[in-house]
């Protein structure tokens, strides 16, 4: 082979080396990008999860308040019934107390 041909081949090889080097650079860039993308993914997942957690807690607080109000409301009803029912028995109970004190004479 002539020197000219050898030179040409060397140029082709140089060109090929550049193609591979470019590819390696691109690959390297991609690997560098991965850290940025990971942070982005984590940030997205974190935001969505936190939103979900906030909603869960808000819903729980609302449910807890609602349940608490329901129990208090039921209690008010129970208390009202208890007072109404008991008022009728106060005289009987008082008689028993009096009997326990004065009744000793019997």
């Amino acid at each position: 082979m002539s020197i000219e041909i050898l030179r040409e081949i060397k140029r082709f090889e140089e060109e090929a080396r550049k193609i591979v080097e470019d590819a390696e650079k691109q690959a390297e860039e991609l690997l560098k990008k991965i850290e940025v993308d990971k942070r982005k993914i984590e940030e997205d997942v974190k935001i969505k999860a936190n939103q979900q957690i906030t909603k869960i807690k808000e819903a729980a607080i609302a449910k807890a308040d609602e349940e608490s109000k329901r129990i208090i409301s039921e209690n008010e009803k129970t208390l009202k019934e208890l007072i109404e029912k008991t008022e009728r028995n106060v005289n009987n109970a008082a008689e028993i107390i009096v009997k326990a004190i004065i009744g000793e004479t019997d």
């Binding site: 193609i19 997942v45 729980a60 807890a64 005289n91 008082a94 028993i96 004479t105």
Partner: protein
């Protein structure tokens, strides 16, 4: 020249194609690695936050359960306070009834029994009984009781009416001669004692329909 250029072109194409193939393989591998790593990372990170979400759900249940438990404790306390109030009301009503009984003959019988049982409890001897200013006690009654105690305990007993008055609705305070033993059996004290003794019975009558 033409015969020389064609093989050269072939060589060029061969070298560049090989390089291109190698470059494509490098990039594909990098993309593959990139996607695989990112996918794994995303799955891991999602799992991590799913755990946090599950914890939040569990915490949310605890918030609800805790609030319900606190409210139940609160309402139970309110009911208990109300019941206490109603028991006190029954005792207040009992005091009102006792105030009316004090003006009747039944009270005189009660008072006689009270003086007798208190004197016996004190073991007889020289005793002084105190009543409120509205209760008149006949000396005959005191003598009768003293004789009974003397006989029953075989201890010479005298009961005198104290000059001072007790501040009570009714009942008595009895002291021995030296004043070192005192028994308080006023209506108010008897009611207080009854609160402990018959509280459950009173509650049963009050709260059972």
């Amino acid at each position: 020249m033409l015969t020389q250029t064609d093989p050269l072109k072939f060589i060029r194409n061969k070298i560049l194609n090989d390089a291109q193939l190698k470059a494509t393989a490098i990039i594909n591998k990098a993309k593959e690695d990139y996607e695989k790593e990112l996918k794994e990372f995303e799955e891991n990170i999602k799992r991590k936050y799913e755990v946090l979400i599950e914890n939040a759900k569990s915490e949310a249940n605890q918030i609800v359960e805790r609030k319900i438990a606190e409210t139940k404790v609160y309402v139970n306390r309110i009911i208990l306070e109300k019941k206490e109030e109603l028991i006190e009301k029954a005792f207040a009503k009992a005091l009102d009834i006792l105030k009316t009984i004090i003006k009747t003959d039944k009270y005189k019988e009660f008072l006689e029994y009270l003086i007798y049982s208190t004197a016996k409890y004190m073991g007889g001897g020289e005793l002084i009984v105190y009543v409120n200013k509205d209760n008149a006690i006949e000396n005959q009654m005191l003598e009768r009781i003293a004789q009974k105690i003397t006989k029953e305990l075989d201890v010479k007993t005298t009961i005198k009416l104290g000059k001072e008055h007790v501040h009570a609705v009714g009942g008595i305070v009895m002291k021995n001669k030296d004043g070192d033993i005192e028994v308080n059996n006023t209506i108010e004290t008897l009611l207080e004692r009854a609160k402990n003794a018959i509280r459950s019975e009173v509650a049963k009558v009050l709260f059972t329909s």
